[in-house]
């Protein structure tokens, strides 16, 4: 039996491959869009995962510290430390600001923590150079994406900070690079105003100085204790809102990135629909180009099934080649995006199944054209 699809493809191999690569580029963009979505979800959780605190204590009636502003007193950590089931508790602050260096300007999130505390805020597996903070002042650990080098000094506020460590893959839920200083330095950066502002405040009778406020108290629970029960217990005994690690992650996904991810999801769906329409048009055009040959085949007695099989086989081969080239393209360009792109094979295969199924459906237009073609078209006169 002669495989018409294989013969047709090999006869116009160059054209077929170029078509497949073009479709592949389109699929590659869809794969990258899915990767952007995955990246957002990944980034949303990365900070909470790195800190790896079992519970987050935040200002009452807020969804802090990421979904809403939260301010609690630093010494609340002592109160939390003595709660039933708590192993360690530490204060933590977050603030975002714009930085600029010779490599460009970028947004960062400053994480302030106690370097001598019992909780490791920096995930050591992500520390690629240098060390974590070991002094209460003027040391800083930065994301390698900021392009700072170890030993370099960074001017922040009124002080200079020495880069003692570089991290990789450390970003906030918004994708901003993370930098780490001691809690004390973070408080100075947050609450030390300009001389003019201090004078103005004094005129108004406002006392300047460090109010010893932090954004959250993070804590780990002792072995054998359920973080959820401990969290509910702290809520009952303090006037604070308490989230477990899972609840905090859900808050980030549900409240912080929900709209953005929905938007990207919608865009991805539109791209998939457009891809399917384009693939359908390509298959239809490929069929139309062969309509003379198809009418001859029909006239000499080749059944519709054989001709339809040729079209479907060509569609499947086109889909497979487009899938391969799309993945290569997606991996090739994903490194150039400023924010994280997470390319998962399961997503690519899911897309492949959707595209393949839809393409075969779309090829029905071509097959319908085949069925409707009058075999008498082949005869002149």
């Amino acid at each position: 039996m002669i495989n018409l699809a294989a013969k047709d493809i090999s006869h116009s191999l160059g054209k077929f491959i170029v078509t497949a690569i073009s479709v592949g580029v389109l699929l590659g963009i869809v794969i990258v869009m899915i990767g952007v979505y995955r990246g957002m979800v990944f980034d949303a959780k990365v900070l909470v995962d790195d800190i790896n605190a079992d519970i987050w204590v935040v200002q009452q009636d807020t969804l802090g510290p990421f979904a809403q502003n939260s301010r609690v007193h630093e010494d609340l950590k002592n109160q939390i430390s003595y709660q039933d089931g708590i192993k360690h508790a530490e204060a933590i602050t977050f603030q975002t600001f714009q930085m600029e260096n010779k490599y460009g300007d970028f947004k960062v999130m400053l994480v302030g923590y106690d370097p001598f505390g019992d909780m490791l805020v920096i995930d050591k597996t992500k520390l690629i150079e240098g060390r974590v903070l070991q002094k209460q002042h003027f040391e800083i650990v930065v994301s390698q994406k900021t392009n700072y080098k170890l030993g370099e000094y960074i001017e922040l506020g009124r002080d200079k900070f020495k880069v003692v460590g570089l991290t990789k893959d450390t970003v906030s839920n918004s994708g901003d690079y993370l930098i780490y200083t001691s809690l004390k330095d973070a408080a100075i950066l947050q609450f030390t105003y300009t001389n003019e502002r201090i004078r103005s405040d004094e005129e108004r009778g406002i006392k300047s100085g460090n109010p010893h406020l932090v954004n959250a108290i993070i804590a780990n629970v002792k072995d054998g204790f359920n973080p959820k029960s401990v969290a509910r217990n702290i809520e009952r005994t303090t006037h604070k809102k308490v989230f477990t690690q899972e609840e905090q992650k859900n808050l980030l996904l549900e409240k912080v990135i929900k709209k953005s991810s929905k938007q990207i999801g919608m865009f991805t769906v539109i791209l998939i629909v457009v891809s399917i329409i384009i693939i359908a048009l390509i298959i239809y055009t490929m069929t139309l180009e062969k309509i003379k040959e198809i009418s001859i085949l029909k006239l000499i007695g080749i059944p519709n099934f054989t001709i339809a099989k040729m079209i479907i086989q060509e569609t499947v081969v086109l889909g497979v080649l487009a899938f391969i080239s799309g993945n290569i393209f997606a991996h090739f360009i994903s490194g150039g995006f400023p924010k994280r792109i997470v390319l998962e094979m399961s997503d690519a295969f899911g897309l492949f199944i959707v595209i393949l199924f839809s393409s075969v459906l779309a090829s029905l237009f071509g097959i319908y054209k085949v069925i409707k073609t009058d075999p008498a078209q082949a005869i002149g006169g």
């Binding site: 002669i2 006239l299 080749i302």
Partner: protein, 238 residues
């Protein structure tokens, strides 16, 4: 008598449109063709040659009448065959004005496509194709693509394709139209030879009355009717 019959047409009518717009192209055609006959079909342009050819090839449904191919009644005021394409595949061969070979298949695939589609085995098909290609003096072209051959060579390949499924009838729609006189006569001689040696009936549409001496019968469409002229044996030209 019926055993030697290749095709019998009775009261074949083909009309297009209806009511006041009804146009009858063929009106009550009746003729019988025997196996191994070489028949010319002649008519002015627009007289219905292609329409008749398409009805004989079971491509176009007649309005009424009866068509027998061999001993099988395929149409009697309605199609009596379930699969017209299977009938064409097994009993009818086609040759067109242009060769109309499938451009993405090589010569061997073009010729073997129909026999394989009929479910014939390779060990049966290959020797037959070799025999046909030897017969047409084209056996060295099996792996060539149609685009690599000349018009005359491709027309011979089209004849090979029409012969590959061992048909009872070959319908040839002006097979010499695109060829010069010398090549046209060479092709017609070959067709004539095929009718004799393969016992196939060939109906050839032509405008060229110089080709009549090679034919056994001439069918003429005149005023929607078919006239049949028997020319007798002309084997000396073969």
């Amino acid at each position: 008598m019926k055993k030697n019959q290749a095709m019998k047409i009775q009261n074949l009518v083909k009309s297009f449109g209806s009511g006041d717009n009804k146009i009858t192209v063929i009106d009550g055609a009746c003729f019988t063709l025997n196996k191994g006959e070489f028949v010319a079909l002649v008519a002015p342009s627009g007289a219905g040659k292609t329409t008749l050819l398409m009805m004989l090839g079971c491509v176009l449904e007649p309005t009424s009448g009866r068509i027998e191919i061999g001993e099988e009644v395929v149409y009697d005021n309605k199609w009596l065959v379930k699969d017209d394409r299977a009938l064409r595949r097994k009993k009818i061969g086609f040759i067109f004005q242009a060769h109309y070979l499938i451009p993405f298949l090589n010569i061997e695939d073009n010729i073997t496509l129909l026999p394989y589609e009929n479910g014939e085995k390779e060990e049966v098909v290959k020797p037959r194709v070799k025999e046909i290609m030897d017969y047409l003096d084209m056996s060295d072209k099996l792996k060539s693509m149609p685009s690599e051959l000349s018009g005359g060579q491709n027309q011979r390949i089209a004849i090979a394709r029409a012969l590959a499924n061992n048909p009872d009838i070959i319908l040839a729609d002006e097979p010499t139209a695109a060829l010069d006189k010398e090549r046209a006569i060479s092709v017609v001689k070959m067709l004539k030879k095929i009718t004799r040696e393969q016992n196939v009936t060939i109906i050839m549409v032509t405008h060229d009355d110089r080709l009549f001496p090679y034919c056994d019968k001439v069918l003429t469409i005149k005023d929607k009717k078919i006239d049949i002229m028997v020319l007798g044996e002309n084997d000396e030209n073969v």
